[in-house]
Amino acid sequence: MDLLLQFLLTGLTTGSIYALVGLGFAIIYNASDVVNFAQGEFLMIGAMSAIFLHRLGLPLPLAIAAAVAISIAVGLLLEKLAIEPARNASVVSLIIITIGASIFFRGVALLIWGKEIYGLPHFSGEEPIRLLGATVLPQSIWVMAGTVVLVGAVKYFFDHTLAGKAMRACSHNKRAAALLGIDVKKIMLLSYGLSAGLGGLAGVLVAPITYMTYDAGVMLGLKGFCAAILGGMGSSMGAVAGGLVLGVIEALGTGFISSGYKDAISFFIILLILFFRPSGLFGKSGGERV
């Protein structure tokens, strides 16, 4: 029982990160129909920037704020310089563009930071907290609480602000949204900024636990893609749920089956879900428009 609780807590921690990456995926996908394979790189950029700004002597909160600003800037540049000029390209071309972007970001990170492994200090100590027979790092609580706050904020943004509603309108029908006076270009830009900011924050939150390298974004990005698919592509809250489910499955797989095969287990589950419920756990299965 204690063991199960321990796995659950570990799973929810990683799951929270997957949820944030998945949410970032969903936001960009909804606004621009692009599957952004550079999503994981936003985490890497956020985390690496925070680590280095902190090393330069900036206090942690300031370093984090600056790091998130950097990832937002990168997200905006990505949209402006790479996605917008190619907006009429096919889905596959857009996938290649974002893959190219992710390779580019990794190349830049490699140039600046090299291949070493870096860590960020834990936000509030490394003394594990005992909880019903399981232990949990304070940083895990930061991750989980941070995710709850961020997801809540995104939900509020989509439901109650003008910009959020405009973004939802764009995801339904861009032309109709444009006719209603919504500046679609600006909304696209906003969606990349939002998604990159979320990614950067997620990277900062998880950096103290997992450490960072220039190529740490790849697997995180793929897992976020998994989370988004699991929840049903295009559903933001579905992606969050998908991320949490994925994290827990992975933790249970690691604990009870094998840690070497943990990624294989999560991808296997994804395949099963795709085979039997292709629209994801929470997505609406609709007919194909001809």
Binding site: I96, I99, G100, A264, L274, V290
Partner: protein
């Protein structure tokens, strides 16, 4: 004959290169690697360009072929050709088993499913170290013999891979004017429309998937013997991405587009090594810029421009 003029041109270039540049590293070593990539890209183009699907896991089939050959010849002393056959059988069974459920999916879901499949196979290659040698891979794969000739020099591999490459290209070109090719193009256009025309779309899609997988696996087996060493690094997610990039870079749906894309991406790293630390960054930037400015692909865009110019020239002469 006109339809195959490109094919004969390529064959002539292939035959002439070793005589024009004898013992040239870029012809024998990089050239052979490029030809391997061409075969893989042309095979993937059947599935992606012709049928309009996407696979982010084709490296898995390359790996299954390579590892079948590597494991069976080093650990069990099997004849390389039998091992190659065993790899093909394994690939056939795997691709047959996954083709139906996977090919029901479309777009991003299909991308995710094939990506997941590729990653699972890669993890298996890394983790099942008692069989596959784990992350270190397997070395000492014996050379292969083609009749009386033992393939163990760069030049011999150049001709072998060249022959297989030409055969694959010819197959691809002929497929495009066959009944199956037309069915694939119809599916690319609209699956529903293809179905109403009486095409058994699930069957045709899974056939082309399996054909593509088999060619990939065959090349993998030869690759293992050519390198005499395999490690999981060669068969990971990035290689799948690289293959897709080759197809898209040249221009989806065009056989010679896949050829151009594969050759380009094989030589690019050779030239980028002069930039040392900037290599990865420049590679990403080139990838992005080609797709942004020529979304239909390099070869298709250039060929389209050239044929328009030719047509315009002919038009002017007629007046």
């Amino acid at each position: 004959m006109r339809r195959l003029s490109g094919f004969f041109g390529l064959a002539a270039v292939l035959a002439a290169l070793p005589f024009l540049f004898p013992d040239n590293y870029y012809v024998t070593v990089v050239g052979t690697t490029a030809m391997i990539h061409v075969i893989l890209a042309v095979a993937l183009n059947l599935f992606m360009g012709y049928a309009g699907q996407i696979s982010l896991g084709h490296a898995a089939f390359f790996g299954i072929g390579a590892y079948a050959s590597a494991v069976l010849t080093t650990r069990y002393g099997l004849n390389p050709w039998l091992a190659l056959g065993a790899g093909l059988v394994a690939t056939y069974l795997v691709s047959l088993a996954i083709s139906r459920p996977i090919l029901r999916l479309k777009g991003h879901y299909l991308a995710m499913a094939t990506l997941g499949f590729g990653i699972i196979v890669h993890i298996f290659l890394v983790q099942a170290d008692t069989v596959t040698g784990g992350p270190d891979g397997l070395s000492g794969i014996p050379p292969m013999s083609l009749g009386p000739v033992v393939l163990d020099t760069d030049m011999e591999w150049y001709w072998t891979m060249g022959g297989l490459m030409l055969a694959t290209i010819l197959f691809s070109l002929n497929l495009s004017v066959s009944r199956m090719g037309r069915a694939l193009f119809a599916i690319h256009g609209s699956e529903v429309a293809a179905q109403t025309m009486g095409i058994d779309t699930p069957k045709v899609k899974s056939q082309v998937f399996i054909i593509s997988a088999l060619i990939t696996s065959l090349t993998g087996s030869l690759f293992a013997h050519q390198q005499s060493f395999v490690s999981p690094d060669s068969f990971g997610f990035f290689f799948s991405v690289e293959l897709v990039t080759m197809v898209v870079l040249g221009g989806m749906g065009s056989t010679f587009g896949a050829v151009v894309g594969a050759v380009l991406l094989s030589f690019l790293p050779e030239f980028l090594t002069v930039f040392e630390d900037y290599e990865v960054m420049i590679y990403g930037a080139i990838l992005m810029s080609i797709m942004i400015f020529l979304p239909s692909g390099l070869f298709v865009a250039v060929a389209g421009f050239a044929s328009r110019r030719l047509a315009a020239g002919r038009e002017r002469r007629r007046c």
